[in-house]
Amino acid sequence: MTDLWPTELATEVGPRAPVAILKEQAALLGKKTENIVEASVKSQKFLREPERPFAYDFYIVSKPLDYRYKIFSLYHGFEPYPVYFGLDTDIIGELSLRGPEDLSAGSEEELISILSKILQSEKIKKVIATMLAYAKAEAV
C-alpha cells in the first residue's frame, strides 16, 4: 500500500505552545517557596468550547494546607495565538485591565507580558504570603 502521509512530520510548528510557557512558570514557584506553595496547570478537557478547543486552568496549590486557588483560565484555538484569559476580577481591577483586548495575547511576547503582570500582582503576592504563613504556622 502506498503511504500517502507527508514524509516529514514536524512536532513543533511555529511558536511555543502557550501551555508550555504556563508550565515553565508553574515549575518555578515551588523552588522559591521550598515547595510549600506551588503552581500547577491543568488541562480542562470537558470545558473546551468549539472555537477554543484548548483550555487550561492555572492554580496556586499548597499541599501542606490541602488548598488550591485558581488564578486564571487560558483558552485558544488550533492556532496557539491569540490566547484569551478568564482572570480573577480582583487582579483585573488591580491591573486596570479593561475589555477583551486587555485579556488576550496575540503573540508569545504579549502572553509573557500579561503573565508577568498577573504573577507579580499584589493579589498573588498576598495569597502566596498568606499561604506560606499558614503552612509554616501549622508546621510548628
Binding site: 470537558f46 490541602d66 488548598y67 486557588y69 485558581k70 493579589k123 498568606t130
Partner: protein, 281 residues
C-alpha cells in the same frame, strides 16, 4: 433533633445574605442571634470585621471572623474557630470550605457569588455553570466525598439553564429525583443537586415569593426572582429538612420589605433577602 431514625444529629444553622454593600451589621447580628446561626456567609459585604464582630458578640461571645485567603468576595463568620472550616478550593467568586466540626459529619460548604445579569447575559451565565460544577467536583475529589451544599447568590433562577442543565448545577426540584444520585447524558454521568428553592416560587409558598425583586418594561419579566439559593447533594439529603429553609423578610425588629410595595427595601436592608437553613451533622 432526629432527622434520621434512631440517630441524633447536631443541627448546624447557616445564614446567607447579599447585603448590597450596606452597613447592616446590626441586622446581621439580630438575624444571627434570632436564628442561632453557626455559620454566617455574606456577599457584597464591606462591613469591617471588627465592627460586625462587636455586634455579633454583643449578646454573648462566640463568633469568629474567618480569615479570607484568595476569595475576597465572600465573608464568613462562625461560632467556632476558623480551623474547623478551612478553605480547600477557591476562585475569584467561589470559596469551598471543608467544614469538620469535632465528632460531627464533615461536609463541603461551597459559597458563591455568581456574575450578575447586569454584566452577563443569561447565555453567558449558563456557559459558566459547567465551570462551577467542575470546581465543585474537583473539591469533592480532593476530600473523597460529595457531601456538598452550594449556597449563594447565583444571580439565576432555579429554572434557568445553568442551574438545571446536567453539565451545569443539575439542580432538580424533586428530592425523590435527586436521591437517584446521578443521570447519564450522552454517555457521561452527572451528579444531581436537590434544589429546594423551587418550592419558594410565588405566593402559595411560605414567606416572600422570592429573594430579589426586579421589574421592567420588556415582555418577559418575572418581578420576583430566586437568585439566592441553597442546593444540596443527594449524600446530604437525609441531613436536610425543607422545613428548616426560610427566606427571611425581617430580623425580628425591622421589616426588610417596603410597606408600600412589599418588595425588598434596599434603603432599609438590602436588595436581596437573606436565607437561613439547617443541616443535621
Amino acid at each position: 433533633m432526629d432527622l434520621n431514625e434512631g440517630k441524633w444529629l447536631i443541627m448546624t444553622a447557616f445564614l446567607f445574605w447579599n447585603v448590597n454593600s450596606q452597613p447592616r451589621s446590626g441586622m446581621i447580628a439580630n438575624l444571627a442571634h434570632r436564628h442561632e446561626v453557626d455559620v454566617i456567609m455574606l456577599a457584597e459585604c464591606s462591613i469591617s470585621p471588627a465592627l460586625l464582630l462587636s455586634e455579633l458578640n454583643s449578646v454573648e461571645t462566640g463568633y469568629h471572623y474567618v480569615e479570607q485567603l484568595a476569595c475576597e468576595k465572600i465573608e464568613l463568620y462562625t461560632k467556632f474557630p476558623g480551623d474547623f472550616i478551612r478553605p480547600i478550593y477557591e476562585e475569584d467568586r467561589l470559596t469551598i470550605r471543608h467544614l469538620k466540626l469535632p465528632g460531627l459529619l464533615d461536609i463541603l460548604l461551597a459559597v458563591v457569588h455568581f456574575p450578575s445579569k447586569l454584566w452577563w447575559s443569561d447565555h453567558s451565565q449558563a456557559l459558566e455553570c459547567p465551570k462551577l460544577a467542575a470546581s465543585l467536583e474537583q473539591a469533592e475529589n480532593m476530600v473523597g466525598h460529595s457531601r456538598t451544599v452550594l449556597v449563594g447568590d447565583l444571580n439565576m433562577n432555579p429554572f434557568e439553564a445553568g442551574v438545571v442543565s446536567a453539565n451545569g448545577l443539575h439542580g432538580v426540584m424533586s428530592r425523590k429525583i435527586a436521591e437517584k444520585g446521578t443521570r447519564i447524558v450522552q454517555g457521561r454521568q452527572y451528579q444531581f443537586f436537590y434544589n429546594p428553592m423551587w418550592s419558594f416560587m410565588g405566593d402559595a409558598s411560605p414567606g416572600p415569593p422570592g429573594t430579589f425583586f426586579c421589574s421592567g418594561s420588556e415582555h418577559v419579566v418575572f418581578f420576583w426572582n430566586l437568585f439566592d439559593q441553597v442546593l444540596i447533594r443527594p449524600a446530604l439529603l437525609d441531613r436536610f429538612s425543607n422545613m428548616d429553609l426560610k427566606i427571611l423578610d425581617s430580623d425580628g425588629r425591622t421589616s426588610f420589605l417596603s410597606p408600600r410595595t412589599g418588595n425588598p427595601d434596599a434603603n432599609v436592608a438590602s436588595d436581596h433577602l437573606p436565607l437561613v437553613f439547617n443541616l443535621g451533622l
